[in-house]
Symmetry: C2
Subunit: 560 residues, 2 copies
Amino acid sequence: MIKEAVYHRPGNNFAYAYDSETIHIRLRTKKEDMRRVSLIHGDPYIWKKGEWQTEEKPMEKTGSDELFDYWFTSLQPPYRRLRYSFKLESEKETAVFTEKGFFTEAPLDEIDYHFCFPFLNSADVFKAPQWVKDTVWYQIFPERFGNGDPSLNPEGTLPWGSEAPKQDSFFGGDFQGVMDHLDYLTQLGISGIYFTPIFKAHSNHKYDTTDYMEIDPQFGDKETFRKLVKACHEKGIRVMLDAVFNHSGFYFAPFQDVLKRGKNSPYSEWFHLWEDKVSTTPSPNYDAFAFESYMPKLNTENPEVKQYLLDVARYWIEEFDIDGWRLDVANEVDHSFWREFRRTVKEIKPDAYILGEIWHDSMPWLQGDQFDAVMNYPFTNAVIHFFAKRNISLTRFKHQLAHVQHMYPAPVNEVSFNLLGSHDTPRVLTYVEEHKPTAKLMYLFQMSYEGTPCIYYGDEIGMTGGEDPGCRKCMVWEENEQDQELFVFLQNMISLRKTEPAFGSGGSFQFMDYGEELLAYEKRSDEQRLLFFINPSDQSKKAEASARRSIERDENSTVH
Amino acid sequence: MIKEAVYHRPGNNFAYAYDSETIHIRLRTKKEDMRRVSLIHGDPYIWKKGEWQTEEKPMEKTGSDELFDYWFTSLQPPYRRLRYSFKLESEKETAVFTEKGFFTEAPLDEIDYHFCFPFLNSADVFKAPQWVKDTVWYQIFPERFGNGDPSLNPEGTLPWGSEAPKQDSFFGGDFQGVMDHLDYLTQLGISGIYFTPIFKAHSNHKYDTTDYMEIDPQFGDKETFRKLVKACHEKGIRVMLDAVFNHSGFYFAPFQDVLKRGKNSPYSEWFHLWEDKVSTTPSPNYDAFAFESYMPKLNTENPEVKQYLLDVARYWIEEFDIDGWRLDVANEVDHSFWREFRRTVKEIKPDAYILGEIWHDSMPWLQGDQFDAVMNYPFTNAVIHFFAKRNISLTRFKHQLAHVQHMYPAPVNEVSFNLLGSHDTPRVLTYVEEHKPTAKLMYLFQMSYEGTPCIYYGDEIGMTGGEDPGCRKCMVWEENEQDQELFVFLQNMISLRKTEPAFGSGGSFQFMDYGEELLAYEKRSDEQRLLFFINPSDQSKKAEASARRSIERDENSTVH
C-alpha cells in the first residue's frame, strides 16, 4: 500500500455539504492500489463504555486519472455532525487513515484522531442557481450577430459579411439584430445568452470599457437593451453580461485624467501607479493586464473603485434584470472584492449566476463565497485535443476529465460552463478541419457531459474561422448558406437534454471501460440509465453492453 | 521517485501571500525521496520567441513528518504575478511537477501547464495583528484568581482556598481581585490576559451565558470592567474575552421563552427546534452542543440572532476597548457567520485578535476571512505526550510538530495560541507528577517555539491539580506557599523573548538532528542564531554544536 499517495483534507472538493442534509466525502489513493475503501463514521458525541460508536460504509470508485483513483460516498448524518476515517484494503494490507495518520485499526478511544465535519450549517452550503444546470448557453459577440438598426452603424461600417473581419473592422451588429433573431434561437432551443461586453468602449470587441454605466451606442440605448432582456425572458432565455473589472479601457475617463495629471489626479488611487508621472512607453509604468499599456489594472482595493464597480454590478441587475455576470480575468482581482461582489449580487437577485474566467485550478474562488462556477477550459482542451487534434489517447482524455471532475465539489461541476470554442479560439469546425462527423461527436459529448454547455454563435450552422479575427465573422443568415443538417443535429441534442432527464443535468456521469478505441460512458438517474458509445475513428467498432455491471455497482453501493 | 506522494495545490498552506510583496511556496514530497527541489518560476507574461521565460530557485527542506518532507521558498515577484512548477531531483530521476502533471522537462510553450498565483493583491494578505506574536498570554478563570470585593460574593461563597473546589463551588473571584494583582502580572512579564467567560451566567465557569450584554454581577459591574481594561492597557497588557456563540445557556431568556411556548415563541427561530413542543428529556428535541439539553445551539443563520451576536461582538470592543475574542466551539458555527463577525470586529478595531477554539485541522477557518489563529491543541498534545507522559519518541514528537507547522501558512503559525494546559486539563505540574525540572523544560520549549504562548494562572508558582475541578483551585497568594524559584524561571523565559529577538517571535524555528535522545532546535533571525539542546532524560548527554551546518544552509539558500 502506498500510504504517501492517500490524500484527504476536509473542505474543498474532499468533504463538503452537497445540500442542507447531505455531506459528500471523497478520497484519493494511488491508482489500482486499493481493492476496497470504506468510510468509518459516526456522530462525535455518541459513545458507549468509553468507545466512540461508528458505522462503516463502502465507498465507490468514481474515476481515475493518470496516477490516482478517486473514491466517493454521500451521507446524511442525523444530527448534521460527522467524524470519520477511512478503512483502506489493498491486496496485502488493511489500514485506517485518520487525520493523525495511519493505524492498523480505527482508534476509538479519542475523537481527536478522526477527520471532522463539525456541523452542516445550511448557510455554508454551496448554492449555485438551480436553473443553470438546465441551461444551454449561446455566446453572442454583439458586433457580429445581426445588424438590426443601420442608423446606429459606427463610421466606416462595412456591409454585413462583405469581407473577412480584421482586428478593427466594424459590421454594425446591435441589439435589434439580436431581437430580430430571437425566434431563431428559440427554435435552436437554447435557454441562455452570454453576451461579450456591451458597455461603452472603443474597439469592436468592447473589452476596453470606457463607461461601465453606459451601453455602447453602436448596440442601441438602454431602452433597447431593456426590451431585449424582456423579450429574452418572455422566451425563457436568461441573459448574462461580461464584466471587465480587472482593468479599464485606455479611454476610461479616470484613466485619461491620470494620464494627464499623474499622481495629482483625484483618480490616482484608482490604478496602481509606480511613479508621479504616468508613461505608457516603452512599457507602462503602472500595473496593467500583462504589459498592455491600454489595459490599466483597476485598484479594486480602493473604496471608491470598489463602490463604483459594485454599483455597476447592482445597476444592471436592478434596472435591466440580467441573470448573470461573467467575470473577465477574474483571477487577478482580489478575493475580498469578489466576496463583496457576490454579497451585492445575491442580495438583489439570489439566483443570479456568477461565472469567473479562470484557466487554472480555481478552487480558491469556488468555496461558496465568490463564484458559482468557472469557464471549464480544461474540458475544452481535453475535448479539442482528443476529438479534433487527435494528439491525446482515449485514456489520457478520460484521465484529464476525471481529474477535473474530482478537482471541484459536485455542486460546482453541475454548473460548470462547458465551452468548445469562443471569440478567442478557432471555431469547432475549423479545429476538425471541417470534418463534420467529428464536430457532431464533440457536440454530443458536450451536451451529454455534466455542467452547462455553451454554443458559440454560428457554430450550429457550420460557420468556420481560425484564431481571432477569423472566428469573429458575421453571422450567416442566408438559409442556403447555413448548414441546416448540423442545425437540426444540435437542435436534437438540446432537445434530448429536456426530454431525457438523464441525458442532461438529471444524470450522473461516469466513464465505462471499453478499451482504447471506444469512448463509453453512462449517464444515470434513479429512473434512467443511458449508455453512450462514441467511436471517434473512421473504422466501425462493435460494442456489447450489458446491464450486469450496472447491477453489481448498485449492490455495491447499497450494501451497508 | 514516488510521484504520487508529491503534493501542491495553490492556496492554503501551499502558496500564499506572506505580505504585500512576498509569496511563500511549499511542496510536499515522500520522505527522503528527493535530493533537491527547485522552483521554476516567472512572470506569466514575459515571453521570448514563443518561450516562457523562467528562473530557477532552490527550495529549502524545512521539516519532515512520518511520511513526508516539506520544501519551502519565499519570493517577491517584481510584478506581483507568478506562474511556477517544481523541478524534482531524486537519486535516479529528474522530473518537473506542474499543475497538469509530471514532465521530464518544463513545458515552456504554454503557460497553462504551470501553477498560478495570479496576482498578489494586498487585500488578500492574511493580516493577523502585529502585537500578538510578541504577546505572552495569561489565562484567568475569574472565579478563582482573586476575591477583591467580598460584597459581590454570591450566596454560599466559601472562604478563599479553604477547600478543594467542587463542580459547583463558589469562591468569589472578581475583577477587583484581578486589579489588585496587576502588579504581580507585570512582574511576571505577561502582556495579555485571556479571561474565560465573564458574562452573566449561572455556573461558576460562566460558559452557560444568560445575557451576553451583561457582566456577571459576582465579578463586578461594567464600570469596574472598564477600569480593569484601562488599568491593563496602562500596564501594556491586552485583554481577550471568551465568546460562547455556538450555544446559549439554559437560562438565556429567549431559550426560556421557547421552553414555555415552543414554536409559538417569538424566539422559536433563534434555536433549531425539531418539534412544536420543546422537551429536554430523555434527550433534547432540539440541536444542542453534543446532546446537552442545557446548551441549546443558537441558530446563527437567523438574522435576529446574527444581529444580536454581532452587536455583542461590537459592544465590548466599542465600549470597553477589549483587544480580542476567543471563540468557544468555533467549528460548529457557520462560516458565513464568522465572516460577518470578522468584518464587524475588524471594522471597529483592525488589530483585534480573533482566536478560534478548534481541535482538528482548521484550514477552512484560517484563510484570512475568518480567524487569525486557533488554539494550538496539537502543540499541547505533542508536548504533553513527549515531555510529561513520555509515551512518544523524540522522532514522533518532532514529526507531530513539523506536521502542524506545515499544515498552516506562516502568518497563522506566528500567532498560533500555544497552551500547555487550561481550565479543561490537568495542570502542567500534575502532568509531570510534580517533577519540576521537566515542567521547566516544557516552559522553555513553549516560550521559544513559534507562536504566542499562554500560561494558565498559578502554573507559574507551581500550583497543581488534575482534571476539572482539580485544576480550578483558588490562586495562591501567600508568598511562602508560592514556588518563587519557578516564578523567577518563567519570568526569565518571558524576559528572554523581549531581550533576545530570536528567542521569541524574531526567530524562525527549525529542528536539528542530534539523535534520538537530545531535542535540538535553532531559532534564527538575520542577526542571531540561538541553538537549543534539551535533554529530557535523567542522564547527562554531551552535544557538540558547529556553525558549519548553518553556513552551508546559508549558501544553499542564496545560490540562485
